[in-house]
């Protein structure tokens, strides 16, 4: 178990190094000068040069990367070029909204996918199965931003049930919850469509195994066998996909938060990239990578919980 942890931690550190270096390098080679973006195209070359020196942009690439790394190690994420405040403050302020959105999105995805997937598998090759597959096919094909706009038109503009966008802040819990409903649906639709197919396919795979026949022969009800015997045995591929989807949901917030004008990390990433705000982009990318790596780690732990054969030797 200790070796397992050590190996995973080493992989984690290597991943963060790789990700941060690639992003630093890409931001360095893509066109667009932070000083120019901040000061505007009417600014004088002298002022731009002065700002570049102030931000340390006149230093060589390798030196800047190492300086940034050194800062990271002591917990200094740097200061945003565009917002002129510490990057850490910007992130801490916006993290709760994005995490909430990701969590509700994933929860709805899992609940919907399990329900639909089990329903389809239980009615394999019957009209219910075909309908679920058709709906999920549509769900996969529809882009999230288009669905978002459609949801706003129906539920915000015509029915006036929910706000079309914006976020009232956490001090208004009901308003905050209402603001998250449509973004959550938009985020979960595609993911649950994909996951429902995985659930169905995985269950149909398990249905062929002999222990299902044994359970039926002992007189247990089909629904009980489906949920308590087959589903746990179908979980390994499902959990794998859920882990990958968590990353999709995080990146999905970039689009969704922009469509619904939600002040979260997704929107911040978008602004940071547009502004060539290197410290902010770096910190956000490292944060997203950390969340994904931790998620994958949890998935690996989950394998052992699901299947006694996959438990690392004690």
């Amino acid at each position: 178990m200790t070796r397992f942890f050590l190996r995973r931690s080493a992989g984690f550190v290597a991943t963060l190094f790789g990700v941060s270096f690639v992003v630093f390098w890409v931001m360095n080679v893509v066109p667009g000068d932070p000083a120019l973006v901040i000061l505007g195209i009417d600014s004088t070359p002298e002022a731009q040069e002065a700002l570049r020196r102030l931000l340390g942009l006149d230093q060589p690439f390798a030196l800047r990367y190492l300086a940034w790394l050194a800062g990271m190690l002591v917990g200094d994420f740097g200061t945003s070029y565009a917002f002129r405040v510490p990057v850490a403050d910007l992130i801490v302020e916006r993290l709760p909204l994005t995490l909430s959105l990701a969590m509700t999105g994933m929860t709805v995805t899992i609940v919907l996918a399990l329900g639909l997937g089990v329903l389809a598998a239980a009615n394999h090759n019957r009209p219910v199965d075909w309908s679920v597959m058709l709906v999920s096919q549509v769900g996969i094909a529809v882009p999230a931003f288009w669905l978002s706009i459609l949801l706003v038109i129906i539920f915000a503009v015509h029915l006036r049930w929910l706000p079309p966008g914006g976020f009232p802040g956490w001090s208004d819990p009901l308003g905050a919850a209402r603001a998250l409903v449509l973004p959550t649906i938009a985020l979960a639709a595609v993911q649950s469509a994909v996951l429902a197919r995985v659930v169905r396919a995985s269950l149909l795979e398990v249905a062929r195994l002999d222990f299902v026949r044994t359970a039926r022969a002992s007189g247990l009800a089909r629904s009980r066998i489906l949920w308590l015997h087959m589903l746990p045995n179908a979980l390994v591929p499902i959990v794998t996909i859920v882990g990958m989807q968590f990353a999709n949901v995080l990146t999905g917030t970039i689009v969704i938060e922009n469509v619904f004008s939600l002040p979260g990390l997704g929107r911040l990433v978008f602004q940071a990239i547009s502004n060539r705000d290197l410290p902010l982009v770096q910190a956000l990318v490292v944060l997203f990578a950390t969340i994904v790596v931790v998620m994958n780690f949890l998935v690996d732990i989950a394998y052992g919980v699901i299947d006694p054969k996959l438990r690392p030797a004690a």
Binding site: F211, T214, S218, G219
Partner: protein
């Protein structure tokens, strides 16, 4: 206890079991033998109401006097495990890999017999003891992959016995096991049948274990029951040419003395489900085939000793007799 009459199980237009009739008395041990594709496993699944949803079941299956052919899932669930229980060929895959075997056996007791956790646990341990599992407490906490093949099969037998069925169907229970382990499973089944007064349906293609495990024998070929009778009598003097071929093809140790002699075999293969004909299905492989065999299904002849044969040879021999009894 169990009476099958004119039972047909068909997938699409193809009958995997064709108008089979068989009765099993209380406490009787009956063997069903036949090659793969003879319909023996389909027959067994039909007795559990577990043939595929798409299959068509015709005829009569009376279990404890109740007609079950065409019964709904709900009615079958009352029968399964309580009147008829079943164990399967592959004891590893037949157990849920994610559950401790103790939980697997206790579950139907809790859910279907309404026992509380402690009672179900105690009963599980008693069953493990009954089927000869060493150290039941420790075994109950193990997962299937931690047990040996023979132990897994004993767990499955314990599960099958848990709700005191009147009939136990064992579908090739020894095929996946080592010969020695299989032998001990056969002895266990014999023991249980005697102690509990339970009927056993022992399905196998291995005549040696069938000879040890059963009182009566039912030989199937291509979906037809072609011969039945007391096991010893059928094996000693088979009436149907197919049974005779099976008996002759038995591997025997004394065959080694005749150094050059090859093991006897039956020429050809079992016909595929889609190729089955109306006539005697052994026609084409039969050494005693007559011109009308392939086109016409033979009638069932009954002997005074309670043996039945479904063959044109026997049929021709007894045609004169009104009682349809052969010697």
């Amino acid at each position: 206890m169990l009476a099958i009459e004119d039972l047909t199980v068909a997938y699409g237009g193809n009958a995997a079991v064709r108008r089979a009739s068989l009765t099993i008395a209380a406490g009787e041990r009956i063997g069903i033998v036949g090659e793969s594709g003879s319909g023996k496993s389909t027959l067994a699944l039909a007795l559990m109401g577990m043939v595929a949803d798409a299959a068509r079941v015709e005829g009569s299956i009376r279990i404890g006097g109740i007609e079950m052919a065409g019964a709904h899932e709900k009615a079958w669930r009352v029968v399964r495990g309580r009147k008829v229980a079943m164990i399967f060929q592959e004891p590893l895959s037949a157990l849920n890999p994610l559950r401790r075997v103790g939980e697997t056996v206790a579950e139907p007791l809790r859910i279907l017999n309404g026992m509380d956790r402690n009672a179900a646990q105690a009963r599980t341990l008693a069953l493990f003891k009954e089927v000869g599992l060493p150290d039941p407490e420790a075994k109950a906490r193990q997962y299937p992959h931690q047990l040996s093949g023979g132990q897994r099969q004993r767990v499955l037998i314990a599960l099958a016995l848990s709700r005191d069925p009147a009939i136990l169907i064992a579908d090739e229970p020894t095929s996946a096991l080592d010969a020695q382990v299989g032998l001990r499973i056969v002895e266990l089944l014999n023991d249980l049948a005697r102690r509990r007064g339970m009927s056993v349906v022992f399905i196998s293609h291995d005549l040696a274990s069938v000879a040890r495990a059963t009182d009566r024998l039912c030989v199937m070929y291509g979906g037809d029951v072609i011969e039945t009778g007391p096991t010893a009598a059928v094996l000693a003097a088979p009436h149907h040419p197919y049974t005779a071929g099976l008996v002759a093809a038995r591997p025997r140790i004394d065959a080694r003395r005749e150094r050059r002699a090859r093991m006897a075999t039956i020429e050809g293969v079992v016909p595929a489900l889609a190729d089955l004909t109306e006539g005697c299905r052994f026609a084409g492989r039969c050494r005693s085939e007559m011109p009308h065999c392939a086109g016409e299904r033979p009638r069932v002849s009954i002997s005074a000793q309670g043996r039945t044969v479904c063959c044109h040879l026997t049929d021709a021999a007894v045609t004169a007799s009104e009682a349809r009894v052969f010697a």
